[in-house]
Each structure stands twice: as structure tokens, then as C-alpha cells.
């Protein structure tokens, strides 16, 4: 059963400050003019406002470069099973929904990515709603309520001087139980999960979409820079890379992107996706069809980061809208 509490803004800062000693605290902070999710050592750096950090918080569960195992000099294998107790505060609903997608991809099916699973288990997610849409955002079209998401442990709604903290999970309840907080009754205007169906959704046969869409025209501007994959909260492709340091071999797992020209390059020199047409087609179809078919979620939550970050203005929302038009 969900409980609600009223938490004045400086009280929240106090609470986070006292949790800082026991947990790794990750929150949005300002670096120059950019807002980014970062590990904080001082609660005064935490910014809990309406702005959305330019990158997603996925890197705290799925690091950009992660040491997964070490082969010692005398040939012993040591997996790296570090998963520090972490609190990520200020996670927007689009990012919370995106973590649902990543959780499905990494933990469902025949195999489980134990690195992600372990980190997820040790992470407490504190969500924060958005009051306004930013340029490029289309979470509403993806059926996501920007004011509320229950895909977290505690959800904060900004009420001006205070936050309403909705405690959703047992994990959330445990963390807050030692703090004396004013309870709040459930109101009629309470947030509810968005039950609206996404307006932006592709319902089509894979082969039709694959062959009969003007992917050449759609992908023409793309530079293949991969920024979209870096800032995207659901992109999860990766590569292993071995490094030798003082006789010890370390295996890292690093982010990779299907937009890079050499993503699918075989050692023989053959590349099944030789031009940006094939690669951009893969990006859109993977997000809107394949992940849906394999795991039940569309791997796009309308956060708009790719649109804002793309140097040449590739716009997945308009691409998908166009495709939906054509399919009618």
C-alpha cells in the first residue's frame, strides 16, 4: 500500500545528507551550463528542478566502461561483482520507464546479465516529476505520464516549498523509516499511472517495414556519430574489450552503438550493415519492433534527448510518425 509524506525541501536535503554516508548518492548536478546525473559528495550540489539531465542515469546500473573480470598473471579468473549500495535521486518518469525496458532486456529470457541484476538490486530509485515538457520531449505520445511513475521506490512531486514523497516499495519504506516525516492523506487528485495508450507506436509486419520504407531518405543526414546511443536511456548495446595492465588481463564491457559504421563488421571484412541506411533502419526497428516482440516493451520513452543532442537534427519522433502515416 502506498504511503505519502510531506517533505520540506531542506528536510529532503538533510535526509539525503545523512544517507550519503551509507550510500553512493547520485543526483542531477550542474556542470557549467549542463545538467548531468553524477555521484555527489555534497548535498548542496543536488539540483531537483524541472530540467532534465542531458544523459540518462543508466550508466549507474550499466556503466559506460565496466570491469567485468580479471585474468591474473598465473591464469586465475576473478569476476568483478562490485555493486555498491546506491541511491539515484531525481530520476524523471521517462528514465524510470526506460529502466523497466533495460531490466526486461537484461534479466528476462534464457540468460540473465548478472552484472546489471546485481546493481539493480542494490539501487534505490527516487523519481521526480516534470512540470513542463522540454523542446524535443514526446513522452506523452509514448503513453508516459510526465508527472508520475510508479517504476521506482519513492516518487517525489514538487509542491513548491516541499515535496510529496510517495513511498512505493518496501525498499523505499525501509530507507525512510528512521526519519520522522509528516504523513499525508491520499487525495482525489492523486497521481495515477497514465493509462492512455501510446499514440506513437508501430504496428506492422517486420518485412514490410524493413523493405517498403524510404530508409535512404530518412537516414540521409545521419553522421554516424553515436551520440543518440550515448544519451539514450534504453540503448544497451555493448562490446567486450581486453586490456593488459602489469601482466594482468582485464576484460571490460563498453558501450557500443549500432550507429557506428563498424558495429557489425566481421573479421573477414564483410559488413552486413554497410551504410547508414541499414544502421538507422536497425535503430528504429530495434527500438519500436524487435524489443517489443522479444521482451514486451518499446525501447523508446520519448525523453527527447537524441533529438536535442543530434548534431544534424535526426528526429525519431517524426520518423516514427511518418512511418505510421504511410502504414495507414
Amino acid at each position: 500500500m502506498m504511503a505519502h509524506a510531506v517533505v520540506p525541501k531542506d528536510r529532503l536535503r538533510e535526509i539525503l545528507g545523512s544517507l550519503l554516508g551509507k550510500y553512493r548518492l547520485v543526483a542531477p548536478v550542474r556542470e557549467g551550463s549542463t545538467l548531468v546525473y553524477k555521484e555527489v559528495n555534497n548535498v548542496d550540489d543536488v539540483v531537483l528542478g524541472d530540467d532534465i539531465p542531458y544523459k540518462s542515469p543508466k550508466e549507474f546500473l550499466f556503466p559506460q566502461v565496466e570491469k567485468i573480470m580479471t585474468f591474473s598473471k598465473d591464469g586465475e579468473l576473478k569476476p568483478n561483482e562490485e555493486a555498491p549500495e546506491t541511491i539515484i535521486v531525481g530520476v524523471k518518469p521517462c528514465d524510470l520507464e526506460a529502466l523497466k525496458v533495460m531490466t526486461a532486456v537484461f534479466t528476462k529470457g534464457k540468460y540473465v546479465d548478472t552484472y546489471f541484476e546485481r546493481k539493480l538490486k542494490n539501487t534505490l530509485l527516487i523519481g521526480l516529476g516534470c512540470k513542463s515538457e522540454k523542446p524535443g520531449c514526446f513522452c506523452a505520445e509514448r503513453g508516459i505520464n510526465r508527472e508520475y511513475s510508479s517504476a521506482c521506490d519513492i516518487f517525489l512531486t514538487d509542491e513548491g516549498d516541499s515535496f510529496t514523497a510517495t513511498v512505493i516499495s518496501d525498499k523505499g519504506r525501509d530507507v525512510l523509516k528512521d526519519f520522522d516525516l509528516e504523513r499525508k492523506d491520499r487525495q482525489e487528485t492523486d497521481q495515477n499511472e497514465s493509462s492512455q495508450a501510446p499514440v506513437l507506436d508501430i504496428d506492422a509486419d517486420e518485412n514490410t517495414l524493413f523493405n517498403n520504407t524510404n530508409w535512404d531518405g530518412i537516414s540521409e543526414k545521419c553522421l554516424g556519430c553515436g551520440t543518440c546511443a550515448f544519451v539514450c536511456p534504453t540503448c544497451h548495446c555493448f562490446e567486450f574489450k581486453d586490456v593488459v595492465v602489469k601482466g594482468e588481463a582485464i576484460r571490460y564491457r563498453c558501450w557500443d552503438s549500432c550507429m557506428y559504421p563498424k558495429f557489425t563488421l566481421h573479421a573477414s571484412g564483410h559488413n552486413p550493415r554497410p551504410s547508414k541506411k541499414e544502421r538507422y533502419r536497425q535503430r528504429v526497428m530495434h527500438k519500436y519492433l524487435y524489443v517489443k516482440q522479444n521482451f514486451g516493451y518499446v525501447a523508446c520513452t520519448g525523453c527527447g534527448r537524441c533529438i536535442r543532442s543530434c548534431p544534424v537534427g535526426m528526429n525519431i519522433k517524426s520518423v516514427v510518425s511518418e512511418i505510421m502515416e504511410e502504414l495507414k
Binding site: Y54, Q64, V65, C225, G226, K241, N315
Partner: protein
């Protein structure tokens, strides 16, 4: 002529080109997806021409697309874009006869906050160095000629390193700068090489320094100062300043700046016995190279 007048002239030129069959494809600008900024616009039909955008938000460098358009294209080129085209010709990457350059005089761009975007502040060039037809702009104020490099106040090596590392630590090694840069067109970038594996691609400061230093060296004497790299960077890293040092150094030593003179052979491609050799091989040492003499 203002941007508005220039735009009308550009539209007339483009419609003409399509009518006379002189071009099948025109590379231009259109409005960005969030209403701000500009994006590349590939025009093939006459009715698309009226959507061309031309104003002080058209910062994108379109020259790189010429590399993949082997069948040729027309391009709306600002001075910095035209410099890139000159370099492509000097480096034998494009066939000049297949390209139609609509040169546009530029009075300087603005970013969404109204400030000059990367590249514009130091720009001294108003007229494109190469064009097939020129669209003039009589706006008398030219942005630029701000000399941001003051040799007298050279910081020490330790300070230079600290400044570089602080800036570069924001980098996330996404390689957008490389993809956006006109000069980065290697089939396989040195960072992607596998055999041998030059770089472990870890996310530490060493890898980031290696990438940016390597890219800077590869752009020595080639950078056309268009600012595309800094604009593409999602993490707002100020990457240009180091490359600019080399650009200035190259001009100082060899009197050469990339892409300004279409007839000039790039300084680092040609060798003349009278070339200055600074800081090595027993050549002169003007004290600007780090470390000891000889």
C-alpha cells in the same frame, strides 16, 4: 543585403539549378526539430526549395556530405564550408567538376542564447574562398578577428596540462566531434584500429587525452575553424582551443591557413628546403616548444 534578401536570392538560384538540370541534389539548411538551430536539408524537388532556411542560425557544416554524394551536388556554402571544400580538393577527396558551389557571404552566426557559436568569434573571413556563384551580404560588421592567443602570457606546462585535463575530463568519448568534422574521413580511425590495438578505449583521462591529442595532431594545418566539433559535442567540452593553437602555429611558421587559397598546396603536404624547422634537428628554437632544445 540582409539574411532575408540573401535567402530570396538563394531560393532563386536553387530553383534555376533544378530547372536547368545543373544539379540533381542541393545541400542546404532547414529548421531544427525543436524550432531552434538548423539541420541539413537535402533538396531534390523544386517545391522543396521554398523550405530553405537561411539566417544566423545556420551553423551546420554541410561539406562533409559531399564525400558520399559521388554523383555530385550543389551546396550552399558559407565561408567556413567553402574552406572545407577547398581542402577536400587539395586532398583529392572530391571531383570539383561535379560540384556547384553557391557561395554565401556570412555576417556571423548566433547560437540559441544570441552569442557567437564556436568558430564565429575568431572568424575573419566573410567571403567564401571558392564559389560558382556568390550571394553577397553588405552588412558591414564582420564578427571576428579576436586574437585569442597571446604569446606573451604563455602559461607554464603544468598549467597547460591541468587546463587540458580539466576540460577533457568532461568528454565521454562518443566521437561525435570526429563524425562532425570535415577533416576526419579516414576509413578506419586510429581509435578504432584493432590490429594493432592502439588504444584500450577505457574511459580514463589517458584515453581521452590520447584521442583529442591524436585528433589535434591529425588536424594540424588542416582545421578550417568551422566549430562543428564543439557544436556536436553533447557534453559541452571546449575542444577547439588546442587545435587552434596548432592552426595559429602553422600560420606563424609557414604562413599557411587551411582552405583560404584554393591554389595553395597545404603546408604539411609540401616540402621546401627553405621551410623553417623549429625546435628539432638542430633548427631554430624560438622557446615555444616544450622541454629542452635540440
Amino acid at each position: 543585403m540582409s539574411f532575408k534578401n540573401q535567402r530570396e536570392e538563394i531560393i532563386a538560384i536553387c530553383k534555376n539549378l533544378l530547372d536547368e538540370g545543373k544539379a540533381n541534389l542541393i545541400l542546404g539548411f532547414a529548421d531544427g526539430p525543436t524550432g531552434e538551430g538548423s539541420v541539413p536539408f537535402f533538396i531534390r524537388k523544386k517545391d522543396e526549395v521554398d523550405d530553405i532556411k537561411w539566417d544566423d542560425a545556420c551553423t551546420t557544416n554541410l561539406a562533409k556530405y559531399l564525400l558520399e554524394k559521388k554523383e555530385g551536388a550543389a551546396i550552399i556554402a558559407k565561408p567556413c564550408d567553402a574552406r572545407a571544400i577547398v581542402m577536400y580538393m587539395a586532398e583529392n577527396q572530391i571531383d570539383r567538376s561535379k560540384i556547384y558551389i553557391i557561395g554565401v557571404e556570412c555576417a556571423g552566426m548566433k547560437d540559441k542564447n544570441g552569442a557567437p557559436p564556436p568558430g564565429c568569434l575568431e572568424c575573419t573571413l566573410r567571403t567564401p574562398p571558392i564559389f560558382d556563384i556568390l550571394v553577397k551580404n553588405d552588412n558591414s560588421s564582420v564578427q571576428g578577428a579576436v586574437n585569442t592567443h597571446d604569446r606573451e602570457e604563455e602559461p607554464g606546462f603544468a598549467d597547460k596540462l591541468a587546463r587540458f585535463q580539466k576540460e577533457i575530463s568532461k568528454c565521454i568519448l562518443c566521437y561525435s566531434c570526429r563524425q562532425a568534422c570535415y577533416g576526419c574521413y579516414c576509413e578506419t580511425c586510429f581509435m578504432d584500429r584493432n590490429m594493432p590495438n592502439w588504444l584500450p578505449n577505457e574511459l580514463d583521462i589517458g584515453s581521452k587525452m590520447m584521442f583529442h591529442l591524436g585528433r589535434t595532431m591529425h588536424l594540424a594545418g588542416r582545421c578550417v575553424e568551422c566549430g562543428a566539433c564543439e557544436r556536436a559535442c553533447p557534453s559541452s567540452v571546449k575542444i577547439r582551443y588546442l587545435i587552434k593553437e596548432l592552426t595559429d602555429f602553422c600560420e606563424e611558421l609557414y604562413g599557411y591557413r587551411a582552405g583560404i587559397n584554393p591554389d595553395e598546396i597545404p603546408a604539411l603536404t609540401a616540402f621546401d628546403q627553405n621551410d623553417r624547422e623549429v625546435g628539432f634537428l638542430g633548427g631554430e628554437d624560438d622557446g615555444s616548444c616544450c622541454g629542452s632544445k635540440g
